[in-house]
């Protein structure tokens, strides 16, 4: 009997030591993954894209009812604010009509001046609009997943913008989905220029809501309230996209409040800057359908096929 108990005890001990050994192996495996998966690894990126491609449509389908509920709630809210909003819109409409007149004048003047200078216009820019399906930000990363990949003409490096300004750039692309690295991420660097003083700088994310301006020249004249726009240097982003406004200048640290409200991103426009025309002509996808930012439907790979 004792002998038998002993053998059971030995079996349990050996099971527990096997268990411990496997556990240590798994921890070592995790360490190994960390070393291979250093952020720029191609393999990890490829596996991530596959995972994203599989899950993005599912996440999108699941989020439909949530979106519907949220929209209904906001519809009800809107209904009560209708009268006030109407008046505000009328006032705004008057202002905008005035702006439209000014813009037309400027456009005509611009055209005639270009004519005088024999100016070569820059390449035409094309867009893909994609809906945001997942917010994969964490304490240490700021990123989103959008529904729209290589099939819709999305490519790595494209600028991601909303109506209010620059949101980020395309980091990884799958067939049906893409990952956007937001300008607030610690790895994001955007060459910017101050609209008023023309001071050049680099906007660096800090994983917080407010990115910081780096590499400003000593004699720069950046003040609170200055608008920062992309400078177009480096060729990733087109020049002149609004990025944010300087909100604090303290002891050499200049913080910028991005124009984009990252908590309310629903649709994002991905701008193809470097390959003009290729989206429309070569991939068989009419991206011009999604040009209007007010269009809620947005282009998705499913819709474009």
């Amino acid at each position: 009997m004792n002998k038998r108990m002993g053998s059971i005890g030995t079996a349990a001990a050996s099971r527990s030591s096997t268990h411990r050994f496997t556990f240590v192996l798994l921890v070592a495996f995790a360490f190994g993954l960390m070393l291979i998966g250093k952020p720029d690894s191609v393999l990890v990126s490829r596996v991530r894209m596959m995972m994203m491609d599989i899950t993005a449509p599912v996440i999108n389908a699941v989020s439909r009812p949530i979106d519907a509920a949220r929209e209904t709630a906001s519809d009800v809210r809107d209904y009560f604010a209708l009268k006030a909003e109407n008046e505000a819109l009328k006032r705004q409409n008057d202002t905008l009509l005035e702006w439209q007149r000014v813009a037309r004048e400027l456009q005509a003047e611009n055209a005639s001046l270009r004519d005088l200078l024999n100016f070569q216009p820059g390449p035409k820019v094309s867009f893909v609009t994609a809906s945001v399906v997942a917010d994969t930000s964490s304490s240490f990363v700021r990123s989103l997943i959008v529904l729209g990949g290589t099939r819709a003409g999305v490519a790595k490096g494209q600028a991601a913008v909303t109506g209010s300004g620059l949101a980020g750039r395309v980091l990884e692309v799958g067939e049906r989905s893409a990952r956007i690295l937001l300008i607030t991420d610690i790895n994001a660097r955007v060459p910017v220029v101050a609209e008023r003083s023309r001071d050049q700088a680099v906007l660096a994310g800090r994983n917080s809501d407010l990115p910081e301006l780096l590499y400003l020249s000593r004699d720069s004249d950046v003040k609170i309230g200055d608008r920062m726009v992309t400078s177009g240097q480096g060729g990733v982003f087109p020049a002149g996209l609004p990025v944010g406004e300087v909100i604090s200048v303290t002891g050499g640290h200049i913080l910028v409040q991005p124009y984009v409200d990252f908590s309310r991103l629903e649709n994002i426009r991905l701008i193809d800057y470097s390959l003009p025309g290729i989206l429309l002509n070569d991939l068989g996808v009419d991206t011009t359908k999604a040009l209007s930012p007010s269009k809620a439907g947005s282009i998705t790979t499913g819709a474009s096929e």
Binding site: L26, A30, G37, I66, R70, D135, I186
Partner: protein, 172 residues
């Protein structure tokens, strides 16, 4: 010995998969774009709490293989340096398994306190590893934020998990 019918087998199988499945479900639910500010950090916190709770209460159903799959999915879905989430979850699982017997029947406050310690250690480790892998010191306020979120979310989640355990899972 009576062989369980197909229905019974399916019943046993889905109950056995509940802890890991629930954790993955929470992860995906937290990744949905809810358009609420600051919800982004919640995915990692939920996963950590779930792994800790189920390892403590149903170690047979939250095995290290379960933790492995949760960790891999977490690291693939979030953009954090690959492997860090997995390593931290495995360590949390190991600690919970090791302290399981000691904590059996202890008052909730004590378990919460121990979870606080584990979460603090896990967050610190994550912060160190991410800083090391990204070759720069990541803002420690973000790590503190994550830790506080984990601490605050533990009691309500533990309450829900305990309810699920009582209603749906066989006693250990």
């Amino acid at each position: 010995m009576i062989r369980p019918s197909l229905g019974q087998q399916a019943d046993i199988a889905w109950r056995a998969a509940l802890p890991v499945g629930l954790t993955l479900l929470l992860l995906f639910a937290a990744l949905l774009s809810w358009h609420l500010p600051r919800l982004g950090t919640i995915a990692s916190a939920l996963v950590l709490i779930s792994v800790f709770f189920w390892t403590l209460h149903q170690p047979g159903l939250m095995s290290m293989w379960g933790v492995l799959s949760i960790g891999l999915v977490h690291d693939l879905m979030t953009l954090a340096p690959f492997g860090v989430g997995l390593l931290v979850l495995l360590i949390v699982h190991g600690v919970a398994l090791w302290q399981r017997k000691a904590l059996n029947g202890m008052p909730f406050l004590l378990i919460w306190g121990l979870f606080g310690l584990v979460a603090a250690g896990a967050t610190l480790l994550t912060w160190l590893l991410v800083s090391f892998l990204q070759e720069m010191l990541v803002n420690p306020a973000q790590a503190l934020n994550l830790f506080l979120l984990e601490l605050v979310c533990y009691p309500p989640l533990a309450y829900v998990f305990a309810w699920i355990e009582r209603r749906l899972l066989p006693t250990d």
